[in-house]
């Protein structure tokens, strides 16, 4: 069975199911958006997809193999995770920061030419090459997010799991990052991205999974999931879904849904 698959995944914190019986199939070459209100279990699901949180029930499979039993190094080579908190604890320069993404691949002898070129490609793709020698403290919030994204890309993972990559990015760089996620998928990787902005999801995602209180409300192709009734059930908000002259869909929240 190809792809990344959550099967009956349940994850509990203090006896409460944060993710409850979630079964989703993710496919390579596609961008899947995980959407849902605060506390829906998006980040927890993402962590379990990355093999970091073992489900209390159910399992996550990558190409048919249980992620929990993969060797950590192999898992790290195949699945790249960009956590929501963009932590950078030491004031390292951007080039060093991005090259950390090669750690799961690196052999005993330090950086090889393959590592160097992967880092260079990732930096070019995330548009951070021009400030390669600046240090973390000298970056704006947006520059820092892009550098961290470049870090994950440098690992050239089969699966890219990204938790809210657009926070603190300006409009232009939001579009850049969305385009970047698309191009990563076009090159054959699977992309799973947690987003808050529904219009962004409408723009970037092939597939959409709606989560609420740990359960899947709807999943499938973008057109079939991003519908007013599904979004109302998920976010408790009435929305207007429209289409711009350029053909891009957009979603505008109208009012809180009063049942």
């Amino acid at each position: 069975m190809k792809g990344l698959r959550a099967q009956g995944v349940q994850i509990c914190f203090h006896g409460r199911a944060v993710v409850d019986d979630v079964s989703v199939q993710f496919r390579r070459g596609r961008v899947t958006a995980l959407l849902g209100p605060n506390g829906a279990g998006k980040s927890t699901l993402l962590a379990s997809l990355a093999g970091l949180r073992r489900p209390d029930r159910g399992a996550v499979f990558i190409d048919g193999a249980d992620v929990a039993y993969l060797h950590p190094r192999e898992r790290a080579q195949r699945i790249g995770l960009l956590p929501q908190l963009g932590e950078v604890h030491w004031d390292v320069d951007v080039r060093t920061l991005v090259s950390l993404g090669r750690l799961p691949h690196r052999g005993r002898w330090g950086e090889q030419s393959r590592d160097t070129s992967a880092v260079a490609n990732a930096m070019a793709a995330a548009d951070v090459s021009q400030f390669a020698s600046r240090t973390a403290k000298q970056l704006s919030g947006g520059e820092r997010s892009r550098a961290l994204l470049a870090r994950v890309l440098a690992g050239e993972p089969e699966w890219l799991l990204v938790d809210e990559p657009l926070a603190s990015l300006d409009l232009a760089h939001q579009l850049d990052v969305l385009a970047l996620l698309r191009s990563v998928a076009a090159k054959g990787a699977g992309v799973v991205v947690v987003l808050h902005d529904l219009s962004h999801a409408a723009r970037v995602a092939d597939d959409v999974v709606l989560l609420k209180a740990g359960k899947v409300v709807a999943q499938g192709g973008r057109e079939s999931v991003l519908k007013a009734e599904h979004l109302r059930a998920t976010f408790e908000v009435d929305v207007h879904i429209g289409r711009a002259a350029e053909g891009e869909s957009f979603v505008i929240p109208l009012r809180r849904w009063q049942p």
Binding site: L52, H89, V92, D93, E111, S133
Partner: protein
């Protein structure tokens, strides 16, 4: 084009590292030679023959003291660098683990019961103290791998060991024992012999090898725990490596020379501006820098014009306290 540019950027820090390490080794050699010559008795070139009566001072006192200063300096510098990397806090110091306090308590107990006359009992007690503290630390915080719990457990253990040490001093059977304990706690390398080197060397070596094994994981931790785990880092294994490595290094240091503070705090800070902040890049330079700092400091306290020799532990505290304060003020400014 951009590829060669980036490759160029990457090669700079690498060669910076190599240059710094080479410079530190060179400085260490010079400092070692000076340490062998300098002291209350100066040993010029003509003393360096077996026929000369002063050879005894060189062979049995100066050489072991010089070797021990470097060994312990390296152990403390490396421990500090590894701990700061692990805790992701530039103010972390091996003392924070409680391991040095635990080792000191062990030594103090042996002094209290008058075991110090035996050559091996005091170090053995000190190592046992370090080992028990490490075990307690692992039991308190080991399973979770949580950083906050770990640091707090260390602080609590340090304060318990500290209060028990004070208790031992206040209950000392004779004033002589009390003063013996206090003097020992101050830390020094005076009159150390080859026995001390033989004791410390294998322990420090084992600890250093364990800490060297943390390099990759410490780098990954720069991005936080979740990102590090997603990069394949086993946080519990890392915690064990750090605890055992620091425990062996610090335990061996305290066992042979008492508490010498601030080396592990200061050296990584001096190194960072020179090679950058990547945790693995500062491990080796911190070991070399620690060796150099302690060797120079020990030589200086020997030749300082004081009536009785200034204790090395006091000298390091006099140096380290203000250093720590300046750092704290600077950090506060950057936070505000």
């Amino acid at each position: 084009m951009s590829q060669t540019l980036v490759a160029g950027v990457s090669s700079v820090p690498k060669s910076r590292e190599v240059r710094l390490n080479a410079a530190l080794v060179a400085a260490l050699i010079v400092a070692a030679v000076f340490s062998l010559i300098a002291g209350k008795v100066w040993l010029p070139a003509e003393a360096w023959s077996m026929a000369d009566p002063r050879w005894l001072i060189i062979a049995e006192l100066r050489i072991p003291r010089t070797v021990l200063a470097m060994l312990i300096g390296a152990a403390l510098g490396l421990s500090g660098a590894a701990m700061q990397g692990y805790l992701r806090n530039p103010l972390a110091d091996p003392g924070l683990f409680g391991i040095s306090s635990g080792a000191a308590l062990g030594a103090v107990i042996s002094l209290y019961f008058g075991f110090a006359a035996s050559l091996l009992l005091l170090p053995a007690f000190a190592l046992a103290g370090a080992a028990i503290t490490m075990l307690a630390l692992a039991l308190l915080a080991g399973r979770s791998g949580s950083l906050v719990l770990f640091a707090l457990a260390g602080i609590i253990l340090a304060s318990i060991a500290g209060s028990l040490t004070t208790l031992a001093i206040s209950l000392a059977p004779t004033p002589f024992v009390a003063s013996q304990i206090v003097t020992w706690l101050l830390g020094a390398l005076t009159d150390r012999s080859w026995d001390d080197v033989r004791l410390a060397f294998p322990l420090v070596l084992a600890g250093a090898l364990l800490l060297a094994g943390t390099a990759r994981s410490l780098d990954a931790l720069t991005l936080g725990e979740q990102a590090a785990r997603s990069m394949g880092v086993d946080l519990r294994r890392l915690q064990w490596l750090v605890v055992l490595g620091v425990g062996l290094c610090v335990g061996a240091s305290v066992a042979t020379s008492g508490i010498i503070g601030f080396v592990g705090l200061m050296v990584p800070h001096m190194v960072r501006p020179l090679v950058g902040s990547r945790p693995s890049a500062i491990l080796l330079p911190s070991a070399l820098g620690g060796a150099l700092l302690l060797l120079v400091a020990d030589t200086l306290v020997r030749i300082a014009p004081t009536v009785s020799e200034l204790r090395l532990g006091i000298a390091m505290s006099l140096l380290g306290g203000p250093f720590f304060l300046v750092m704290l003020i600077r950090m506060r400014r950057s936070v505000v």
